[in-house]
Symmetry: C2
Subunit: 188 residues, 2 copies
DNA sequence: TCTTATATGTACCGATCAGTTCATTTGCGC
DNA sequence: GCGCAAATGAACTGATCGGTACATATAAGA
């Protein structure tokens, strides 16, 4: 099993960066918690930034997989699936180790728009928007692009609210909003 | 003028932290850019964290003042003022040095809920919500608390979108959403 | 002019940062 | 059992981190 150590590193580093932040987590801390030697780390990744980028790619893939699998599992028609987005969101918020959106946090720590971490984070959101737009099209929304953007704003706002704790039920408030916005798009 | 150096430090440090991030900005960088000696800094603030906290308090005060002054200046009735929130937001996004919300970023860098920076950031959002709720009450909304929470989610989502650049016009999409949500609350 | 408070410059502290070196060890294919 | 690639541990580099020591300078008030 050749690349397993690399994968193990990415997976474990993902959890640690998510919990403690990127700048706040030193390579020595990674060594201590993962049990993987520093030598091995730098054999797989030339720099810490390279590791962070791999972590973000891994997170992007696993998160979108998890999220849309959850949506698919509802087996609802597209229009109801647009609403179910916010039930899946609530499920995420209620996880004990929920700590906000890794990409929002990454773009907060790597603000340079040229930074790979920033670019990767923006790309993650772009992919989410595209998926939502497709769903809105399948549902037959009057303006699928606008609806996708609106729902995405609600989703991001709910994540921030859940992370900062200034709303007792962000997923609920977002879902209520989504119901109204969706109803408006279908003229019913 | 006794406390002017302290104020000058807080004001300049605010701009630098906002632009470059908290962890990424060292005290030496602050010395270099503010022209204020390190000795003076540590005479006014025992630690970097203390300075950061003062910066956040300053930002909270100035931002909320700026924001609600802008709203007041529209001289619109409460219901229209709820909508004008998103015009002010757009104005903010279009500033050349816009770099997202300092408090979202602070809570991303200081994740410990016991951390003063985290607490101060959450408090900022709480104050915004209270102000929005008051406005919704004055406007005679059916459920002012819910409407305030919904509009706040839109606002936070729009800020994130503006910062990460995944929406061409976050303020516009948020305002369209707000129109629908407000109309629903007034049965018209 | 003498005092007192505030700010400055510089050199320094120990700790930690990302990243390297190198000799040793592990584990799998043959 | 042998060979080879991958992983390890520990010591080390130079730079930077937050924060301190100390001697000097500046400026306003009495």
């Amino acid at each position: 099993m050749r690349p397993s150590k690399r994968d193990e590193l990415v997976r474990k580093a993902q959890a640690i960066f998510y919990r403690d932040g990127f700048h706040a987590t030193g390579m020595d801390a990674l060594v201590a918690e993962t049990g993987i030697s520093k030598t091995t780390m730098f054999k797989h990744f030339r720099t810490k930034d390279d590791l962070i980028l791999a972590v973000l790619r891994y997170r992007d893939e696993t998160f979108r997989n998890w999220f849309f699998r959850k949506l698919d599992d509802t087996a609802l028609p597209p229009r109801q699936r647009l609403l179910a987005v916010f039930d899946v969101l609530r499920e995420w918020f209620e996880e004990t180790d929920f700590k906000g959106c890794m990409f929002i946090k990454a773009s907060a720590e790597f603000q340079d728009p040229e930074s790979p971490a920033y670019i990767q984070s923006a790309e993650h959101k772009r992919l989410l928007k595209t998926a939502l737009k497709t769903l809105a099209e399948e549902a037959g929304a009057a303006d699928p692009d606008l609806l996708a953007r609106q729902l995405l704003l609600l989703k991001e706002g709910a994540i921030v609210a859940a992370h900062m704790g200034f709303d007792p039920d962000p997923a609920g408030a977002a879902k209520l909003s989504a119901e109204t916005l969706i109803a408006a798009q279908f003229g019913s």
